[in-house]
Amino acid sequence: MTREELKGLEQLNEFAFKADEAEKMLEIFGNMKGEEAVMDSFDLSNTDIMVHVMPMTNIFREDVRQQPFAREDLLKGAPEHTDDSWQVPRLVK
């Protein structure tokens, strides 16, 4: 991974590394790439993926409306808000 590629990855995840952190991160990527090779020592062609460790299916709730939370409580901890909405810097100019 190059410094430029790392920068793209930082942007995608909305934060920025300092120079020394970026250097360390590149080292981590290099090391992990080597570690990942361990997965190739197994023949996985007949092994399906396993997303859930417990084999359950069709876990549903009924289509019933409930509203136990109040808007003012939800907005209380917002960094910036009006009486009824969260607020961010204007997106469309």
Binding site: F42, V51, F69
Partner: protein, 395 residues
Amino acid sequence: MKYYISEINKDGTIAVDDTILVKGVLCSAGSHIMDGFEPLFSAEAVERLEKAGYKLSGKTNVGEFGLDLMGEFSYYGAVSEGGKLAGAAAALVKKGEAKAALNVDLNGSPRRAAALGGVDFIKPTYGTVSRYGVIPAACSGEQIGVTAASAEAAAEVLGVIAGHDDKDGTSLPQASYEYKTDEGVKGKKIAVISELFDAASDEVKKTVEAYAEGLKAEGAEVKTISLEEAKAAQLAWTVLSAAESCNNFSRYDGVKFGYRTPDYKNIDDLYVNTRTEGLNFLTKATVLYGSNVLSKGRYFDCYDKALRIRRLVSEKMAEIFKEFDAVLVPACGEASYEEYDIKEAFEKTYKEALFTAIPSITGIPAMATGGVQLMAAAFGESTLLSVAAAMERRG
């Protein structure tokens, strides 16, 4: 040095990790980015404890989102005992200031903290304790478990919090569980996984060997076996948990709650500066590694393979548990840890994942006790608790 980030009741007996929500009590998850976050509801496990008459003592210090070894990279500082790193909850239980603690086990940190702190921690089978109200990181494997001074106390508290919850779509259907501590050790077959044993320090090896001798003296049969998938499990859980964490931590952006940077002119600054200032290096490294393994070019080469490794390891463990009642391995690689530079944290926790990843990636129960780690087949908690109890009685 902060054991509690928020205190709740002076006469409370149950400590709760700060990655578990308690209604109306500020929750930090050990992170600056959560500043001022006040949950509007309590975790199901917390509700169950309170309904059963237990009182909470407070919210215990954790590393940012629980990603580190045992809490050393909390925004509120590390907890140490005698110059060595310690888990806040394990330390409180050890001192007798809390009867038990609830902790989220996503990368084995409460197991490590208990093993090093001289107390017990049990991570139950995935799906037995509701994750409703857990600050999510690695949803496919994390579980709330119990730290306690004895197997009996752990069994008691686990029995209260386990059972089906409609609010968690991965919660198993069984309504409640009864955990036993009196099944004994005699006649039990215990396997030591050589790949994990060999990777530990000499001091840790001695602890495991001593435990094995104790088991034999109690009438158990102990045998060393090989699990060639051990390293693959370590890698695969690191891949899966990093990817899921990356996705779960993307919600912390300074818009809805928590910390917002004072330094922004537009939404891009707001996002980038909030996250740059609010998250620590370990979280950032985890997020970037997780983002990378999910990216277009890498998904099938890495993430998809890790999901297959999960099945492979699960099948292999199921085979082992056909022959053995439990597995005995180190809980961590070293007998103690000192404070270290956060830039080493990603690799340090990766290294420790060799010892802790198998239960996380397969969902089987695990227990730290007597400085070692035991694992059992799914729903084998009573075996773990009984072995631990017998060994504790032995002293």
